[in-house]
């Protein structure tokens, strides 16, 4: 079932408020067989609302609007619905009494300005609002259904859950199955090249989208038929296996945490250029204290020597940004904390600090385990925060590969 979404409010267009209603509605309707095919954001003007209703109804069977149902002069959505459906609302004495008693319960009189919230349609229906005073509207015209809801997320969600989503479920034929495969360590184009033949072969059965983020690429598969989706997944798995770390909303750090727990291993990290971000990511996972005793952020050379035991000779001969220092940091934090695995990261996050031999983005990552210590070289070419993020991702990916081969 195709759904057109219209969110109304000047503050959404000016960017001072990020529209979180739209993504919530997009996700929720998809669980009940609906699919948002167009989303229009407009300001509070009658002309804009009418144009958007026309445009949305061209591509959707169901149109949902949010916003503009408050009591103030710039709330025009209900009035515009009455115009659009050529309706004459009537004053709903019963609802007004209810509102009066509701306001009294909070120890206040009801302002006259709220009277417009007690209007009810003659040609359409009111949609109950279990948590606020602004009711919604529901009209049907030429086989299409139009709902208007308040913009306050709590009220909108309550009305969606109580009325709109059950209605969508009752009307929708098929429910879409969604699965996301999460990869890291490979670029979108390289990933696409590996599996484009498979995707092409299934294009009438499964819709595939590549969702690139800076630290990885998600492959999202959507299909009306779970068997089709599973078949495509099985076909592409061999090609993406080396890069696949999880599904759905799983994070790399949470997946690795589960593996560490399963193996009974602990991990400690020593960070220079990433400045604590790797520790932060690892500790975003609830229960990480089971496998993560802690980390040491050694921004200065003195701390690298005094706390991690990096040798002065190493820093003098090879520099703080070197494979040798990364190895000694990894081994040092492992020794110092008694963890099974130590990771050491040293590099130049930028924008300053680069030289011709050691440019901004040069990073070395060391991994120390019982069997020995290795270091890998990376060259990133982004801004400071992105270089930090990519370095932590590379470190986690190094650990992922080590755990993978250990299995």
């Amino acid at each position: 079932m195709n759904i057109g979404l219209i969110t109304i409010g000047n503050e959404l267009l000016s960017g001072f408020t990020t529209d979180t209603n739209a993504s919530w509605i997009g996700q929720e309707v998809s669980k009940f067989g609906g699919e948002v095919v167009k989303h229009i954001t407009i300001g509070d003007t009658t002309d804009a609302i009418i144009a958007a209703l026309d445009e949305a109804s061209r591509v959707a069977q169901v149109i949902i609007t949010t916003g503009g149902l408050g009591p103030t002069h710039d709330d025009l959505t209900a009035d515009t619905f009455y115009i659009y459906f050529n309706d004459q609302p009537v004053f709903d004495e019963e609802y007004w009494s209810y509102l009066e008693s509701r306001f009294q319960r909070f120890g206040r009189g009801i302002p006259r300005i709220n009277r417009n919230q007690a209007l009810k349609p003659q040609k359409g229906f009111s949609v109950p609002n279990p948590v606020g005073s602004a009711r919604g509207l529901h009209y049907e015209q030429q086989g299409k259904h139009y709902f208007c809801l308040p913009g306050v997320p709590r009220e909108m969600k309550a009305m969606m859950n109580r009325t709109i989503l059950p209605w969508i479920k009752s009307q929708a034929g098929e429910v879409q199955v969604v699965k996301t495969l999460r990869t890291t360590g490979i670029a979108e184009s390289a990933l696409a090249e590996k599996i484009s033949v498979d995707i092409k072969a299934a294009e009438n059965q499964v819709t595939v989208a590549f969702l690139p983020q800076i630290i990885g690429v998600d492959i999202r598969m959507i299909s009306p038929n779970k068997a089709w989706l599973d078949a495509l997944e099985q076909r592409i798995l061999p090609s993406i296996k080396p890069y696949l770390f999880g599904t759905g909303n799983q994070t790399l750090e949470a997946v690795l945490g589960n593996q560490l727990k399963a193996f009974g291993l602990t991990l400690a990290v020593a960070e220079s250029c990433t400045g604590g971000l790797l520790s932060h990511r690892l500790t975003n996972t609830p229960g990480s204290s089971e496998y993560f005793p802690g980390g040491i952020v050694t921004y200065s050379n003195a701390m690298k020597m005094n706390i991690l035991g990096v040798k002065e000779e190493t820093l003098n001969s090879f520099g703080a940004v070197s494979a040798e220092t990364a190895r000694e940091m990894a081994a040092g934090v492992r020794r110092k904390t008694g963890a099974d695995i130590g990771i050491g990261i040293t590099g130049i996050a930028g924008p300053g600090g680069g030289t011709k031999d050691k440019p901004v983005g040069l990073v070395y990552i060391g991994l120390a385990v019982e069997a020995g210590t290795v270091a890998k070289k990376y060259e990133f070419s982004h801004d400071r925060e992105t270089n930090k993020l990519l370095s932590t991702q590379a470190a986690l990916n190094l650990l992922r590969k080590w755990l993978y081969e250990r299995k």
Copy 2:
């Protein structure tokens, strides 16, 4: 100047990705005299893109699209622009060579799938992409201007800053003056109460918006006249002074970094429940190595004792989450690193680990300086990641107040 914004991508409609580009663009264009009057989000289909171009151009002089410029089969925006403007793109050998050398620099060959990114328009212009391979497009038709940009926020922003915003500025008539005052440590309603009389008095001269974030509230003032804006700022400054830490895009950690540098002071931090986030935030500021030797993330009690010198007796008598432990962590990291200032954070980030006496969200923060050590108690009531963030903000705010009184 009226701007129509079209964001393209199935993942935006399905709600799996929240659209942050739109609010960024809405805010940025307003600084240069532009105003987004309509925002349409659609999936990656040629028909939907063409309909949106038609609809946006009915109400706007400038149309900006983001998304759908990648190399994969579902990226249709550039092709649709060529159709819409009846253009025949040609292969740009020079740009392809550049892309090849760019990929080579990263030690990779360029996949053939990227060839479509080397097309260039004949009737329009390419918009340079300083940070990625997908260039944008710029067409003019019947006095209206159409730009298409990639959806990757980093690339979109670089191209907006480099090309589109200067172009809008050159075309727009009246430019609005914008100033943002950044506060922390006070709720939106309390802040509004302090200055509502001043805002009301200037309401025909300056538009004021409160932008609450989880770690503070920004006050954004917009006016066509700088003198009006300055006058309002002078009137409200005395009331907000205790909470004001900066202006514009300044971060609290960068402002504090400048103060530490000015005073010639160094800072080291010991973190438990924040897990490295405070170190991460401090090191996001370029040049932070001048005042930040490093931090120690002691997730386990053993690390608190072995590395920071927290007494076993303290942990046994008062617990790891206590004012006493926070003080010993702060003093310990100061002693261990030789820094002038030590901060220690210990608490329960959640969702697990809380008890009746020590619930989730309970946090103690210690501040150690030459004159002695203090600890403060906080009670947050959010999810794990937000509790971590609020704890680091409270720690930075504690430091801010100490530096403020020292002046």
